[in-house]
């Protein structure tokens, strides 16, 4: 079933262009609009927010570091996709204030209970503010409440400077500290991949709290991490090049079926490693490595999985591709997009470069991913 009525993209960073396109979209006959814009646009927040609130159609989406349209990377600009159906959009707000698991469960349960027959829905897109530090607890809790059997694809919005700004779109305006769950009317097929493999380890996570690894093998985590890389590669840490080196060596948590859950070390603090996802204490982690070919190949594998799993007509395909892959692949990133586009059965192929990705694990649970690509189609 083709659900797409309207597509529009631009490389322009002006709000007036976006506003103009929004007017056209509203007159296209579409009932829901997916709005994706680049963080580099720097739209005036107040004006943008009132534009969203004035929109009579159901809207959802967010501000991401970059966007993709077919095989093109959009570093500045915007994308609007219009759907025939009025999608159901659920906003979970003030998440940064819900620090306790029980309260989080109450928030999710109460929000979902306001929706009629929510359990009957199986396919979701998720847009969230990547600067919420308890997003993984939210995802775990969401899974516990929604249960397995659901299909979900999503990605963290925001900007590369890691400064929190409102970045999620809804009919109530522009939000921060929120997660948006969008119900899709047709089955969502997902392909997930990262392309990283074990390089060093294992290391025992002897001390960790949330996204911060304080100790590896009962030593300061940063020291162990740097020593492991320096002993087996040409890279040398000099106090200012952590991110340049670390983007090549993420951490990986191996599960019982030898699947690796990638965790990206994005900063250091007091000899600790700050990752873009939780690392459980007492778990075993590895240092991972990869190369451009492996990453692109993994993306192709994800595309094949996402696009060949169904016999139904695919009306749209959306990619949640980690921004770190673009940073790693640099000029070769467009190869990744070409490879995906090559397998895509629909002309409506678009995506975001995200700060964290969300998808189902093989066991059915929802997982927060790093340095991964989530390709979804419906």
């Amino acid at each position: 079933m083709n659900t797409i009525l309207f597509t529009w993209h631009t490389h322009s960073d002006t709000l007036s262009d976006f506003k103009h396109a929004l007017t056209i979209a509203q007159n296209s006959g579409a009932k829901s609009l997916l709005l994706l814009t680049c963080s580099q646009n720097h739209y005036p927040e107040a004006e943008l927010s009132s534009l969203l609130r004035a929109c009579p159609l159901t809207i959802f989406g967010g501000i991401y570091p970059m966007l993709t349209w077919k095989n093109t990377l959009i570093k500045q600009g915007a994308l609007i996709i219009g759907f025939k159906e009025a999608f159901d959009v659920t906003l979970f707000s003030q998440l940064h204030q819900v620090t306790n698991e029980d309260k989080l469960e109450d928030l999710i349960t109460n929000t979902l209970e306001q929706k009629n027959n929510y359990c009957a829905h199986d396919d979701f897109l998720m847009f969230y503010d990547s600067r919420i530090n308890n997003i993984e607890d939210f995802i775990d809790c969401l899974f516990e409440c929604l249960d397995h059997g659901i299909n979900i694809a999503g990605g963290g919005a925001g900007s590369l400077d890691f400064i929190q700004r409102p970045c999620i779109y809804s009919n109530q305006g522009l939000h921060s500290n929120v997660a948006l769950l969008v119900t899709l009317p047709s089955k969502l097929n997902i392909g997930v991949a990262h392309g990283w493999k074990i390089f060093q380890g294992p290391f025992l996570v002897s001390d960790a709290h949330g996204q911060t690894v304080q100790g590896l093998n009962y030593q300061p985590a940063l020291e162990v991490y740097c020593q492991a890389i320096e002993s087996a590669s040409e890279f040398r840490f000099n106090g200012s090049n952590f991110f340049d080196i670390a983007k090549n060596f993420p951490l990986g948590i191996e599960d019982i079926n030898n699947n690796l859950l990638v965790r990206d070390p994005i900063a250091t603090h007091n000899n600790h490693l700050q990752c873009a996802g939780n690392i459980p204490i007492n778990s075993m982690v590895y240092l991972l490595e990869s190369n451009s070919e492996a990453l692109i190949s993994s993306a192709e594998q994800a595309a094949i999985t996402a696009f060949t799993a169904t016999t139904e007509i695919t009306s749209a395909a959306m990619i949640f591709d980690c921004i770190s892959r673009e940073l790693y692949l640099a000029d070769k990133f467009e190869h990744e997009l070409d490879t995906i586009a090559k397998h895509c059965p629909t002309p409506v192929l678009f995506g975001v470069l995200s700060l964290g990705e969300v998808a189902n694990s093989p066991n059915g649970a929802i997982a927060l991913l790093n340095k991964s690509i989530v390709i979804s189609s419906w």
């Binding site: 409440c145 249960d147 397995h148 599960d255 019982i256 079926n257 699947n259 459980p280 093989p362």
Partner: protein
């Protein structure tokens, strides 16, 4: 990773996830979440052994096994609770029967793996792959550790419960020590304590406070007539209403019975306005009818208050002063409340001195009985009412309307009443020795409320009759209408008992009270006395004549004689006669006379 290393790391991670929380559910959830992510599970479940009341507890030998679903990740399966999932429920049952690890492949290709948590429950994993045999075996020491931690949590839970119930009991005891059992308001003891603190604060902060004393008017007759259950509900309703006045600076308590106290702190220079506001609010709270068991009751209250530290700085004095002021308000029938004034205490002192005078007068024989003869329409004396007179050594002849209410407030009325009874009997004895006309029947004495509620009142009467050896039918009692209504059941019984002993009773001041006709027909009285207020100028007042006529008809219907009091003119006499009233008492016939002069009337 080599398989050995994987198993060791798995055991390590799971073992370290055990016992991180003390609460059983929280502890198991942490463990289950680690299992879930580390073992790549589709769902995970824990069943716990419970006692017959459904509380988790350690399985003891030879005990019947009751296990209950306790925890699952995710919480539900497609919106349905796991307890209703037949596959899982059957598997749990098989696992419990087997009491060792079992596994099962479901129709959808998923697997269930079951483990025993020794002596505490069942652990079930759902997977999309086969859990290797060595992994299952590696879980065995973990489950032993989990069982130990379960036991620790159970002990902890029971300790927490014990501490909690102890806390609840302590809180309850502390509450009971400070609160009134019926209304939940502060009790007298705690009100004293609060007032003491409020007085100190008032001194420290140079503020003014007040103690307001509230007494519910006419609560007692309702309580007596309708029973304590209704009375308690009324008090509880009032307490709840008064409690609504509570604030940071206002405390409300029950002083006892139908008496309540409100302490107001931190009043400023315009305190009189603030107090008036509160009194208005109290009156408004009372304006709403009290609907108890489908009956509606209306009440008013009397309010007195005293200021601290202006009028006193001691708890006892302040409460006493507010109480005195409340009595003044009650006497004055004032709804606005009265502030305590020194003159009120002086009045009380004078009153006490007056009571002492009365006692002295009783001992010195200063009280006398005067008799006002009662007549029929032929002019024959048919009886007399004994009336108390007191010759005060200083003030001269005192009016009964002054000293009787004072005597009634103290227990002196009992002594006076007893003296009246005995003196009347002595006088009857003297009369018996005279040639009395046949029309003369009896001497009536007035009875007070306090006498009436004496449990041995009838015995006292019978004793006095016996002691003076007089015919019982010569004595009659006069009870006011209000007095009867306030003690209706006891009054009916007493009047019936006296009637059985030939002593008649009359209902005095009839028409001024609000006796219900339902009650009236049950009272076995012999005589209704039309109040003097309806007799005065009856020939000129159609209203008085109508009331008198109605009382006369009522008397005929209830087979009671009718006597008109306060007949002072021939016109009144004629009018009453025309209306059908044939018995009279009043100055037109005879004024009250000392016994010696009364006796002369027979000549």
């Amino acid at each position: 990773m080599t398989k050995a290393l994987f198993l060791i790391s798995l055991q390590h991670e799971l073992a370290m996830a055990i016992g991180n929380k003390l609460d059983l559910k929280a502890m198991l959830k942490v463990f289950l979440k680690v299992c879930f992510s580390r073992l790549n599970l589709t769902s995970a479940h824990i069943y716990i052994y419970c006692d017959s009341s459904g509380m988790p507890h350690k399985l003891a030998a030879l005990e019947s096994v009751i296990y209950q679903h306790f925890l699952s990740i995710p919480k539900n399966k497609r919106g349905q609770p796991w307890q209703k999932n037949p596959v899982l429920t059957d598997f749990a049952q098989q696992l419990n029967q087997a009491q060792h690890n079992i596994s099962f492949q479901c129709k959808n290709g998923q697997y269930l793996f079951g483990f025993i948590i020794p002596e505490h429950g069942l652990l079930i994993f759902e997977t999309h792959y086969t859990l290797a045999d060595e992994v299952q075996k590696a879980l065995s020491p973990i489950l032993q550790k989990l069982a130990t931690s379960c036991y620790t949590s159970l002990v902890h839970d029971s300790l927490v419960k014990e501490v909690h119930s102890r806390q609840l009991i302590e809180e309850k005891i502390a509450f009971q020590a400070q609160h009134d059992g019926l209304t939940g308001l502060f009790n007298r003891q705690h009100i004293n304590h609060l007032l003491s603190n409020a007085i100190e604060d008032a001194h420290r902060n140079k503020k003014i406070g007040t103690v307001i004393f509230i007494d519910l008017n006419r609560f007692k007759p309702i309580n007596d007539a309708m029973g304590h259950a209704v009375g308690d509900k009324i008090l509880l309703t009032l307490a709840n209403r008064l409690h609504s006045l509570t604030s940071e600076h206002i405390d409300v308590g029950r002083f006892g019975g139908d008496e309540f106290i409100i302490i107001i702190k931190n009043l400023n220079h315009n305190y009189q306005d603030d107090i008036k506001d509160i009194i208005t609010q109290i009156n408004q709270l009372l304006e709403i009818p009290f609907v108890i068991d489908a009956n509606s009751y209306k009440f008013s209250c009397s309010i007195g208050y005293a200021l601290f530290p202006l009028q006193s700085s001691t708890v006892n004095n302040l409460i006493k002063f507010a109480d005195i002021a409340m009595y003044e308000a009650k006497r004055a029938k004032s709804k606005q409340g009265k502030q305590y004034q020194k003159t009120m205490s002086e009045k009380i002192k004078r009153r006490l001195a007056y009571v002492d005078d009365m006692k002295q007068g009783l001992e010195n024989g200063d009280f006398k009985l005067y008799y006002q003869a009662q007549y029929n329409h032929y002019g024959d004396i048919i009886g007399a009412e004994a009336l108390l007179r007191w010759q005060h050594p200083v003030h001269g002849m005192e009016s009964p309307s002054v000293y009787i209410p004072i005597a009634e407030e103290s227990d002196l009325i009992l002594a006076i009443g007893q003296w009246v009874l005995e003196q009347a009997c002595r006088d009857i004895k003297k009369l018996e020795q005279l040639p009395l006309p046949q029309t003369f029947k009896k001497i009536a004495i007035n009875v007070s409320a306090k006498q009436l509620i004496q449990h041995d009142f009838k015995d006292k009467i019978m004793r006095a009759i016996k002691l003076n050896d007089i015919p019982a039918e010569r004595l009659a009692l006069e009870l006011t209408e209000n007095l009867l209504v306030e003690n209706i059941e006891d009054s009916i019984k007493l009047i019936a008992d006296l009637k059985a002993n030939s002593i008649d009773c009359s209902i005095d001041d009839f028409g001024t009270g609000y006796s219900s006709l339902t009650y009236l027909k049950r009272i076995p009285a012999s005589l209704l006395k039309i109040d003097r207020s309806f007799v005065a100028n009856i020939e000129q007042s159609s209203e008085s004549a109508a009331i008198a006529s109605m009382i006369i008809s009522l008397g005929k219907t209830l087979k009671m004689d009718i006597l008109a009091e306060g007949v002072e003119t021939v016109a009144e006499f004629n009018c009453l006669k025309d209306l059908g009233c044939y018995q009279y008492q009043g100055y037109y016939f005879s004024k009250p006379l000392p016994f010696d002069k009364f006796v002369q009337l027979f000549n």
